[in-house]
């Protein structure tokens, strides 16, 4: 493990980038998932079609492709649009950090769309009827009845999505983001010790995913304790 000495700080900063990408893509993923699920469950045909296309495209194409297209495509597209308004603009870039974050969030968000949709459908009709009988508005029903029942149903598959999310962060090294996997590749280039360097990356990801798994377990326990079974 001598070879790793001197690379620890790079691995640390790489891990920080992983966490940063994970955090922001988690927020966006939940947002995309909720919007997608709402669109799929709405009465609006167009919204249904758009959400349907979204899940088909992002669940059906390789993740690495989405990341590359978003990274290279966004800069070219944005530049072209900006030049329509101001020909003096030479170039607009989307930093790799954001291109990667949005790409991963879009991909995992398409899975979350289906998860959330299923969970909303799993809310018991009786609960909704009871809420109506109590005179709750649609918004109140949504906040006090649908969401609390739905998140308990969605939690186990949602835990899987979070694990996908954290592991997908390793893919963004291809667009030059200095995360742990990229640090490993640089370290290998200099030290010529691939196994040691990859094992370090493995341990870092294992640590992250263990934390995620444990927190999902904790939330499941909390959900069961405070949910209907406990009443």
């Amino acid at each position: 493990m001598d070879a790793v000495t001197g690379w620890w700080d790079d691995y640390f900063w790489g891990s920080m980038i992983v966490l940063q990408v994970f955090f922001f893509s988690l927020l966006l993923m939940v947002l995309f998932g909720l919007i997608g699920a709402a669109a799929k469950l709405s009465d609006n045909r167009l919204a249904q079609k758009i959400a349907g296309a979204y899940t088909v495209i992002f669940r059906g194409t390789p993740e690495i492709l989405v990341i590359l297209l978003l990274y290279f495509g966004s800069a070219i597209t944005l530049t072209a649009i900006a030049q329509m308004f101001d020909p003096d603009i030479k170039f607009i870039d989307v930093p790799p950090m954001w291109a990667g974050t949005i790409a991963i969030a879009l991909i995992v968000g398409s899975y979350a769309t289906e998860t959330f949709r299923g969970a909303f459908l799993g809310v018991k009709p009786g609960s909704i009827e009871a809420a109506r009988a109590l005179g709750m508005s649609n918004l109140q029903t949504f906040i006090y009845i649908r969401i609390p029942e739905m998140w308990r149903l969605a939690l186990p598959p949602f835990g899987n999505h979070m694990l996908s999310l954290i592991k997908d962060t390793a893919l963004i090294s291809i667009i030059g983001l200095n995360e742990t996997f990229f640090v490993a590749k640089q370290a290998i280039g200099t030290t010529g010790e691939p196994f040691t360097m990859y094992i370090v990356v493995g341990c870092i990801y294992l640590a992250f995913s263990t934390i995620i798994t444990l927190s999902v377990m904790g939330m499941e326990k909390f959900g069961a304790r405070t949910g209907e079974g406990a009443r």
Binding site: F91, P95, G176, N178, Q186
Partner: protein, 269 residues
């Protein structure tokens, strides 16, 4: 002005993403940062290597500031075209195929390839004049780096060989040791330093002469830039000629190898 609001939005977007805007003084240089000894990062976080030295040397002569961008090899040209950086200084050989997409400065390094295989095996792959014997390559599994000049050479000259493609040179060395490929074709300078001189590589050796056919490997390694920047290209080429003529290029090479890796003729321009 028809769309004042949209225009101000667009300008705002430019300000938001201003990291990418280009000023005349700063040149962004794309390289792999994992290709020792030509471009790599040391444990201290510094970029080092022959390509890095050349980039710094050229920048000093033309009076530009440098900003290095790390980019994986197979996305190098797309990234240049998408304006992620302005120059490629990444040991990229000047070839006609690449010239269809991008321009190159004059060469600053030799571009050759050599086959590496088991040192004790009795390959009969090349005749006395150094030309490959095509039928003896039939069925041989040869590891190559994706999107490299070696791939084109093999496809054209030795279609009987079975090509296995890899991302980067370290996986090549690994699978040669694993026996998944019979031999690899790669940059001999790098392989000598990174693999053959180490314990892992002691059973392996060069099994071909240095192959440098201009048609496939180009005249050498140059600095890549987007097309339509002839004035910049000329400044870069002139700076490289200066580096050759004042001995800097030789000095960069001698830091790593016991020999120079360019042709002094290139300095005459």
């Amino acid at each position: 002005m028809k769309f004042p609001l949209l225009k101000s939005l667009a300008v705002g977007a430019v300000a938001l993403f201003a990291a990418g805007s280009v000023s005349a003084e700063t040149l962004r240089v794309g390289m792999e940062c994992t290709y020792a000894p030509f471009n790599y990062r040391t444990a201290d976080g510094e970029l080092a290597g022959y390509d890095v030295d050349v980039a710094k040397g050229v920048a000093e002569i033309i009076g530009a500031d440098l900003e290095f961008v790390c980019q994986q090899w197979d996305g190098m040209i797309p990234a240049l075209l998408a304006n992620k950086f302005d120059l490629i200084v990444a040991s990229m050989s000047i070839t006609d195929t690449r010239k269809e997409k991008i321009d190159f400065s004059g060469p600053y390094r030799d571009s050759v390839g050599r086959l590496i295989g088991k040192a004790d095996a009795d390959w009969k792959l090349f005749d006395d004049s150094g030309a490959p014997i095509a039928e003896n390559f039939n069925g041989l599994r040869v590891g190559l780096e994706r999107a490299s000049t070696y791939e084109n050479w093999f496809n054209a000259k030795l279609p009987g060989a079975e090509i296995v493609l890899y991302d980067g040179s370290e996986p090549l060395y690994l699978d040669l040791q694993n026996g998944r490929v019979d031999m690899i074709m790669t940059n001999p300078m790098k392989a000598q330093l990174r693999f053959l001189s180490k314990e892992a590589g002691n059973k392996f050796g060069f099994v071909s002469p240095a192959i440098s056919e201009v048609e496939f490997f180009g005249i050498g390694v140059g600095i890549g830039l987007r097309q339509g920047q002839d004035e910049l290209r000329e400044r870069l080429s002139a700076a490289i000629r200066d580096l050759i003529n004042n001995g800097s290029l030789k000095e960069y090479a001698l830091k790593i190898f016991p020999f120079q890796i360019h042709n002094d003729e290139w300095g005459k321009g």
